[in-house]
Amino acid sequence: MDRYLLQRSLAALLTIWITTIAVSMLIHLVPGDPVQIMYAQSQGTTPEELEEVRQRLGLNEPLVVQYVQYMGRVLQGNLGTTIRGEQPVLELLLERLPNTLALAGAALLIACVIGLVSGFIAAYKRGSWLDTSLMTTAILGVSMPHFWLGLILLFFFAVRLQWFPVAGNGIENLVLPAVTLGVTNAAIIARLTRSSMIDVFDQDFIRTARAKGLPKAMVLYGHALRAGLVPIVTMIGLQFTYMMGGAIVVENVFGWNGVGRMAIQAIFQRDYPLIQGFILMFACIVVTVSLLMDVIYAWLDPRIRY
């Protein structure tokens, strides 16, 4: 078990390290002169000023030096300042991050409740009309673009019925985006739960439990659910990283003030320090969550502990 966790942690560190390299070199991959592109929108920038920016960002140094300098700053918690407004990137990101986490967390809760329950029912009633209709709904859900579902929900519940405000950042504004993100992902979780539970129902120990006359409820909850939950837990970790990705789009539909919305604006404004900071932070969150899931998985499933 220790060896397994050590391996996973090293892999996580490696991932983050490679990300820092990719992120610090991002600006050089931009076709053309990044400084000129960044400042294309501000009028009257002289060549001297551009040169000064280039100096300030250290773009004239050799790549290795640039990377070392970048890492030096990042390790001190300095992600640089934005091009527009010269605000500290880390502060900006941390200010908005709770909003994104709240959205992803609420969506995950909705997705898990709907997805696990309907997946379990579908597996238990395999082949019935209930199974068929649940799975038909699920494949429709998987195929639905969440930004579109978001627009439709916004139209009906905020504009027509006026149950929820159209924009803002209160708790009542969280409902529609969380439902949007949650429902599409519930479909994925339902499908995975179903196939995972069907695998378990087919196994010998379930047949044994049934054959020896255990009450149905005990077989279901004591045996099947416990075994079936193991792969589902890892999957839910993956779902969370998924949600973080989906949140970027959904935040933009609902004007929810999270990091995703800020990242999209940064891309439009070519604010590379902000984009770099966003990617690095996002990568760290995703890697941490998957590491956490590996730990939980190892703890749940004795077979992993080698």
């Binding site: 892999a11 490696l14 991932t15 490679i18 990300t19 990719a22 991002l26 991959l29 931009v30 076709p31 395999r126 082949g127 199974d131 799975m135 494949i139 429709l140 998987v142 195929s143 639905m144 673009p145 969440h146 930004f147 579109w148 627009l151 439709i152 139209f155 504009v159 994925i188 499908r191 995975l192 196939s195 069907i198 695998d199 999957m235 993956l238 990283t241 998924y242 973080m244 990705g245 989906g246 970027i248 789009v249 933009n252 990242a263 999209i264 940064a266 891309i267 439009f268 590379y272 984009i275 990617i279 996002f282 990568a283 995703v286 890697v287 998957s290």
Partner: protein, 311 residues
């Protein structure tokens, strides 16, 4: 997408056992053709896959004959009054510039097919080669390649696509490249795991003993045998690619107005949708149908190839 990979990897072994060792006399094209046949007969045996197959076929027909089907050119402003609700002349209504939404949705099918082909082409080609080479070579090549794939895999597709668009700049072409690149790890993992199975088969040893070179072993002997699971991943991959590219376009990072790309249409119609909900309904339904079609087809083929997944 992650679930798909796991499923696809699960069928990797099943698909492997599905294809009998090939007598050398019948040749590689025979293997390839038989694998294709396996996949397609599998697909037609499944109800959902049949529906998906017909929807895909319909999409292709619509795309090819778009100029004949659409009553107006896609970007003809003032084809009607602006913001007309759906009626006999303008089936899906008109948008804020008086363009016929039905015609735009029809022309949008062409862009969607382009997105699917190009994005999946990129990820399928690079992913398959990476997985094949890693699985074939073993040792350090395998470790480095697959570790790299794992690193890319651990970011979400959305993040990679965003980073790629941030670097390349917003356009539909760049969005297709971004979406294609972001999906490479899925294909690489599947190709890799099937290659590991195939490498241990008798035909491979026979070819090796007969003195086949590296390239011949990889592309002539291994490649045709890893086709079925890759078809599953690629089919499901089209739906992911279409969704992701439409999402980028919706955010303004992909197709730019006045392109009749469906995601871009939704994005442009946002300001008017309280007045004219039809502007956003039809492009969204179009995306959903296409994604559903490829999901049904892919699921159907997968179920047929892997009896364990059958319900």
């Amino acid at each position: 997408m992650q679930q798909r990979v796991r499923n696809a990897m699960a069928i990797a072994s099943a698909a492997g056992s599905h294809v009998d060792p090939v007598p050398d006399t019948q040749g590689r094209w025979y293997v390839f053709a038989r694998n294709l046949h396996t996949v397609f007969s599998a697909a037609t045996a499944n109800r959902g896959a049949k529906l998906g197959f017909f929807l895909v076929l319909a999409l292709i027909v619509v795309a090819i004959f778009a100029p004949l089907i659409a009553p107006y050119p896609a970007d003809q402003m003032g084809a009607g009054m602006s913001l007309l609700p759906p009626n006999g002349d303008y089936w899906f209504g008109t948008d804020e510039f008086g363009r016929d939404i039905f015609s735009r949705v029809i022309y949008g099918a062409r862009l969607t097919i382009q997105v699917g082909l190009i994005a999946v082409g990129i990820s399928l080609t690079i992913g398959t080669i990476t997985g094949l080479v890693a699985g074939y070579a073993g040792g350090w090549t395998e470790r480095v390649l697959m570790r790299l794939v794992d690193v890319v895999f651990s970011f979400t597709e959305t993040l990679i696509a965003l980073a790629a668009v941030a670097v390349l700049g917003p356009s539909l072409t760049n969005a297709m490249i971004a979406v294609g690149v972001a999906a490479i790890p899925f294909y690489a993992r599947v190709a890799y795991s099937v290659t590991l199975v195939e490498r241990n088969r008798a035909y491979f040893d026979a070819a090796y003993v007969a003195g086949a070179g590296h390239l011949r072993l990889i592309f002539v002997h291994l490649l045709p045998n890893i086709v079925p699971p890759l078809i599953v991943v690629a089919t499901l991959g089209v739906s992911s690619a279409v969704l992701a590219a439409a999402g980028l376009s919706f955010l303004g990072l992909g197709a730019q107005p006045p392109s009749p790309e469906w995601g871009a249409m939704l994005s442009a119609g946002r300001d008017y949708f309280t007045l004219a909900p039809w502007i956003m309904i039809y492009p969204g339904v179009a995306i959903m149908i296409v994604v559903l079609a490829f999901n049904l087809l892919g699921d159907g083929i997968r179920e047929a190839l892997d009896p364990r997944q059958k319900s």
